[in-house]
């Protein structure tokens, strides 16, 4: 059986950045396994601009951003396989993959980096009444059809959900000559980035109906129309608020779910909020030598953050295979992070002071829209950070930074709490 020091599952932005960081840290044998026909992942279908402002200080399109990393992976001669599907991984880190030329192959890895990304929540998860006609797409599928395959999914469009992909597709379909009639969002706030509301809806006069959802789909063979209604605070449709829209296409942009089937096979502990693995400060899961990064870990809004996080996973996987993780220290002093009062989760979930770098960035999302509120961090009962934010929303990821030197001053610290406070 062939063996590699690090096997990376997924050749999207997370997998690529992880591979490069691992290579830079001195690991020679790295293999990236990608199921699509090219490296770059979902960035290849995100042809809009706005990527890389943090990383490259310029505004790139998805394919351009991906290529910055692909180019380096090629330069560094990091091995990768395309059109290759990983079927199985085991506790002893045997990876089983399949492709057309090699058939089914087992390889041995010393460390595995999970970088499989996420998938879109489908109609079946929503309980929308009506038949199952043609013309209902997830927004990302429509994006791939239009931007990569050259097909137009429809002409008269209603979009359900105001996630970023849906907003981006509202603009894209409009530019391609379709008529986007309305974007309905069940929550009282948008799930997408503000700039996408401005650039993709406002610019084109597409209405966004907050606290609205689809209550009926008409059409048997093909979508013929939808009924949209307002919802109350319990998300129940309000009778008498129904409005009919004729359309031939419905795009769903109703959330992303990390793709963790492989992680589950080796009993990686999962976080019920993120649907991604529970990880420590090194982005290592509870299975030793198995790391996770990118959207398989938790859904990000910015690819820059994915690249940054994935580089950390790559670096730590390298440390692991090169034996640079100190063994004894590892369990010496582990602090748990707790997310309460408006904070839905934190990544990482635990911090080991013996293993952490000088600083650790903790990313989290809030569960509601908070105006003029504070992000507070408590070391046990002592408040050590109290930072005012004009606005925080579930659609935009927040972060705080933990400082090793500061943490060393609290030798008995058990718990770090992150919460939102009004004052």
């Amino acid at each position: 059986m062939k063996s590699y020091e690090i096997v990376i599952i997924g050749g999207g932005p997370a997998g690529l950045a992880a591979a490069l960081a691992a290579k830079e840290s001195g690991v020679g044998s790295i293999l990236i396994l990608e199921r699509d026909r090219e490296l770059g992942g979902i960035l290849n279908q995100c042809i809009h601009n706005g990527f890389g402002l943090h990383t490259f200080k310029e505004e790139l399109t998805g394919p351009e951003y991906a290529y910055r990393f692909i180019e380096k992976v090629l330069e560094q001669k990091i091995e990768y396989k395309l059109n290759t599907m990983v079927m199985d991984i085991t506790q002893s880190k045997i990876v089983t993959y399949m492709n057309r030329t090699e058939g089914m192959v087992h390889i041995q890895a010393k460390a595995i980096i999970l970088a499989m990304g996420c998938r879109e929540r489908p109609r079946g998860a929503l309980n929308i009444p009506g038949f199952r006609p043609a013309g209902i797409f997830s927004a990302g599928t429509a994006q791939r059809l239009v931007n990569m395959e050259g097909y137009m999914p429809g002409r008269e469009v209603v979009i359900l959900g105001s996630g970023d992909i849906g907003l981006i597709m509202a603009r894209r379909m409009t530019l391609e000559g379709a008529h986007v009639k309305v974007v309905a969002e069940i929550m009282p706030y948008s799930g997408g980035l503000k700039r996408n509301i401005v650039q993709c809806l406002d610019d084109f006069g597409i209405p966004l109906r907050l606290s609205h959802t689809i209550v009926d789909i008409r059409g048997v063979e093909r979508v013929e129309g939808v009924t949209i209604a307002q919802v109350d605070e319990h998300m129940k449709p309000v009778p008498g608020t129904e409005e009919d829209y004729d359309c031939d296409t419905i795009l769903l942009s109703v959330g992303l779910i990390p793709e963790n089937e492989l992680s589950n096979k080796i009993n990686v502990q999962m976080n019920a909020v993120t649907s991604g693995p529970v990880v420590n400060e090194s982005l290592e899961t509870n299975v030793e030598g198995v790391f996770a990064c990118g959207n398989v870990l938790h859904v990000h809004d910015l690819v820059d953050y994915v690249s940054e996080e994935a580089a950390l996973a790559g670096k730590n996987a390298a440390k692991y295979v090169l034996g640079k993780f100190s063994g004894q220290e590892n369990s010496a002093h582990t602090i748990t992070l707790e997310a309460v009062d408006g904070v839905r989760y934190t990544v990482p979930k635990t911090v080991n002071i013996g293993r952490m770098e000088d600083t650790v960035k903790v990313r989290f999302r809030v569960g509601n829209v908070f105006k003029d509120s504070y992000v507070s961090v408590y070391y046990d009962d002592e408040r050590v950070l109290h930072r005012k934010k004009i606005i925080m929303a579930p659609g935009e990821m927040e972060d705080i930074t933990l400082d090793r030197k500061k943490l060393l001053g609290y030798p008995d610290l058990k718990k770090i709490t992150v919460k939102i406070e009004k004052e």
Binding site: N44, I47, H48, N49, G50, L53, H54, E59, L60, T61, G62, P63, E64, Y67, V146, N147, M148, E149, G150, L175, E176, L193, K194, R195, I197, V198, Q199, D203, D301, L302, I390, I391, E396
Partner: protein, 124 residues
């Protein structure tokens, strides 16, 4: 004094910016967290522009659809003209990122450039 509320699109932070205007001229910009925000706000209230991204068909390549963008931002009212100008464009592989695909997008003087590499289709 006229006040205009904007959401900065310079980066994903989406700062809420207030622009104070007098007789069509910008007097004060507040709410931005970086110089880009001020620049955007002034531009957005005087001459709003956008980068247009779209795609064209490519022949003889390993992929069939090539993604493109205007090299610089074009006036906002020209967005549709720019996108429509691509409808008649024919591109042949190979293509490199940055190659000019259409010299002048709808009379803006700004070219559409490729945002993806396309290799020749390998012989089947």
């Amino acid at each position: 004094m006229e006040k205009r509320e904007l959401i900065c699109i310079g980066c994903p932070l989406g700062c809420m910016i207030t622009v104070d205007m007098q007789d069509g001229k910008v007097v004060k910009v507040t709410g931005n967290t970086c110089p880009r925000g001020e620049k955007y706000a002034v531009k957005e209230v005087t001459c709003p522009t956008r980068i247009v991204t779209s795609s064209v068909r490519v022949s003889g390549g390993d992929i069939h659809v090539l993604s493109v963008k205007t090299r610089e931002a074009v006036p906002k009212e020209k967005i549709f003209d720019c996108a429509n100008a691509l409808k008649t464009v024919k591109v042949a592989a190979p293509v490199r990122i940055g190659d000019i695909i259409l010299k002048d997008a709808a009379g803006t003087g700004i070219p559409f450039v490729a945002t993806k590499n396309v290799k020749f289709r390998s012989s089947l």
